[in-house]
């Protein structure tokens, strides 16, 4: 933690100049002292500090020391205690979904569950297949990380991934396998693995306690409770994520003798889907326009070129520029997009509520102080029409460049 001392020459000058009207405020008067009679005396005026509105504030949390004479840089983020597993007695294998190359909240819940199953002696081993952008494996509770970098495993390759996981099974004999029971691949991979290993999995598990697990059964009207099996497909929020410890996240070598089966399923890539037909609540990428959009033809054109589903703020809907079913927010749709591009939207609470689940928010706005900019991960300050125009031009250049490269 670096504590850089900052000098304030102006304050020092006032402190030296006894005729300055503010001289008295800069004289450090002790808050409490022992009088000659042995009684503790307090000076209530010395407590607290002057807040930004010029009103005296007293903060009893101890976080802010009263009119501190020295100013220092903001303290660095606190380091969580490191949990070490030197010689793991057993392994708990987790295969996270890694949607978009990052741990999803479902993955983090799963790692929390794995952590509680691992206790002090076990190690949580996360197994990932493709390139990733995650930087917080350590705080998510990963003791060991196994990264298959093979190209053949990077895309949609469930059969090869199952072979890789069976090799891990043969090598480590993990105590449990944990996969997210999600549509993002975890549910499929887990069931394939279960069929391969002839393990009967517990599916849609939402609670694990005392060696028992409870999962939803049927269409969700029933629960099935059973002893904890080796392979668990857990629902979201099955446990709380790791929050109080940091973990080593040591890289672990992948098994060498990978069986290379011939995949019987060939991935021919994603198919272009008309983004307008995707329900807004499900859309992955939304371009949303508000009162700050002046040229709606350009906006629609941008959505088409970006391949984004269109959304709107209430003002844009009320003004008749967008249909009502496109409204995002408290009275519209609560969206779950991974990327939300908000053009000319101020970020009223009713709107921000609707985008609470969005991962990356990009704001394009004239006003650098609006709430949307505070929420956004990237903000571009300027006129919406000019920026959208430049973005369209940039993407066109990219596409045509790409076509030229391919030719």
């Amino acid at each position: 933690m670096s504590e850089i001392i900052r000098r304030d020459p102006h304050a020092e000058w006032i402190a030296r100049n006894r005729l300055h009207p503010l001289h008295a405020t800069l004289q450090k008067s002790p808050e409490r002292w022992m009088s000659a009679a042995g009684v503790v005396r307090k000076n209530p005026h010395a407590v607290g500090f002057i807040g930004p509105e010029g009103i005296k504030r007293i903060d009893r949390s101890g976080a802010q020391s009263a009119s501190a004479g020295k100013r220092s840089a903001a303290p660095a983020a606190v380091q969580l205690p490191l949990h070490r597993v030197e010689q793991p007695a057993f392994h708990i294998c987790v295969v996270p979904d890694m949607v978009g190359g990052r741990l999803s909240s479902h993955d983090k819940d799963l790692l929390g569950l794995a952590r509680s199953l691992a206790g002090n002696n076990g190690a949580v081993l996360a197994i990932i297949f493709a390139e990733h952008k995650e930087q917080a494996f350590d705080t998510a509770g990963v003791d060991r990380l196994m990264h298959f970098t093979d190209d053949s495993l990077a895309g949609y390759s469930p059969e090869l991934r199952v072979l890789a996981l069976s090799a891990v099974e043969a090598q480590l004999k993990p105590r449990h396998w944990l996969l997210p029971d999600s549509r993002n691949g975890g549910g499929e991979l887990g069931r394939r693995l279960a069929a391969k290993l002839s393990e009967r999995p517990a599916t849609r598990v939402w609670q694990v306690a005392d060696g028992q697990c409870i999962g939803r059964a049927g269409a969700g009207r029933e629960d099935s409770q059973r002893a904890l099996p080796r392979l668990i497909l857990a629902a979201a929020e099955c446990a709380s994520p790791v929050s109080e410890t940091r973990h080593e996240c040591l890289a672990m070598a992948t098994p060498e003798n990978l069986a290379h089966g011939l995949p019987r399923i060939e991935d021919c890539g994603a198919v272009a889907v008309d983004p307008a037909l995707i329900p807004m609540a499900e859309a992955e990428f939304i371009l949303s326009g508000g009162n700050g959009v002046s040229d709606w033809t350009q906006f629609h054109q941008a959505a088409e070129i970006l391949g984004a589903t269109e959304g709107a703020s209430r003002v844009a809907v009320d003004d008749g520029f967008m249909p009502r079913n496109r409204q995002v927010g408290a009275t519209g749709t609560w969206v779950t997009a991974r990327v939300y591009l908000a053009v000319g939207i101020s970020g009223a609470v009713q709107h921000l509520q609707g985008i609470g689940a969005c991962d990356k928010v990009v704001a394009v706005n004239k006003d650098a102080n609006c709430d949307m900019v505070k929420r956004a991960d990237l903000s571009v300050i300027g006129d919406s029409a000019a920026i959208l125009g430049a973005l369209i031009a940039r993407i066109n250049a990219h596409r045509h460049g790409g076509i030229r490269d391919a030719a």
Binding site: R192, R216, R264, I265, E266, V271
Partner: protein
């Protein structure tokens, strides 16, 4: 409307596996939503030649609503309630000349673990496709199909015949069931050995308990921090702000983020 899709491959042998569903609020037996979609896709692919197969009680009246979708007959492998039907299905299907087996992805009654198509595929040694929505083309023993992904996306796959495919709610919606054909259709039952499911009989299913709501846990050590956590607005900071640059510079930054996130195709 149906003729153009049915012409895809007239000689394709399709089997749809169906189960008995449960109405989501009353729990009354009905045709299962996803299995009905499997029958629908099967009818589009094979027309009259579609074979529909159920393992369970041949007296179950809810099975007739599959017949009402325009089937002449429905084959039932007789199995007691709560039996493990995989081996019975496996024995039946191994002897058949099926090239494509369609199932739902999760039963509406029983354990509903969604393991059946995977176990069948493993035992038959066939490839398995999850979330089939459309069979685009079949030729040279290879099928080109579309697979449903989350968020309304689709992926194109090529898979060798014969294969098993499970369907979820992204598959084409099932046609209505008509009363007349449902009465006229035949339920043909076949005897088979029963294989009781030990696990399900020793720990039967219970009515679903409501799941505890996750609370927003605030691990603040002091009152002031708790107050801040409770009242704080959208947290500022962390975001990158590009200001005073040309629109092109801003567009470049947005473009880079979109490419990094992989949403731009």
């Amino acid at each position: 409307m149906l003729h153009n899709t049915a012409q895809a491959s007239p000689a394709l042998n399709v089997v749809a596996l169906v189960s008995v569903g449960a109405h989501p609020s009353s729990g009354r037996a009905r045709r299962a939503e996803q299995d009905a979609r499997a029958v629908e896709l099967g009818l589009r692919l094979a027309g009259e030649q579609l074979e529909v197969l159920h393992a369970g009680d041949p007296q179950q009246p809810a099975l007739r609503s599959y017949l009402g979708m325009g089937l002449q007959q429905l084959h039932v492998i007789e199995q007691p309630a709560q039996a493990d039907v995989i081996s019975a299905l496996h024995d039946y299907l191994q002897d058949s000349d099926a090239q494509l087996i369609l199932t739902g992805s999760q039963a509406e009654t029983g354990e509903g673990s969604g393991m059946l198509p995977f176990l069948l595929a493993e035992q038959l040694g066939w490839p398995m496709v999850v979330g089939l929505t459309e069979v685009e083309h079949i030729g040279n023993g290879i099928a080109q199909v579309l697979q449903a992904l989350p968020r309304g996306q689709r992926r194109r796959l090529k898979v060798r015949l014969p294969f098993i495919a499970s369907l979820d709610n992204a598959a084409p919606a099932a046609r209505q069931s008509a009363f007349g054909p449902a009465r006229r259709g035949e339920l043909l039952s076949h005897a088979a050995e029963a294989n009781p499911d030990a696990l399900l009989s020793e720990s039967p299913l219970q009515p679903a308990r409501p799941r505890p709501k996750r609370l927003k846990i605030i691990t603040a050590k002091t009152g002031a921090e708790r107050m801040k956590a409770a009242t704080a607005k959208a947290s500022g900071g962390g975001g990158q702000i590009i200001k005073g640059d040309s629109p092109e510079a801003g567009a470049e930054a947005i473009f880079k983020l979109l490419v990094d996130e992989g949403v731009l195709r």
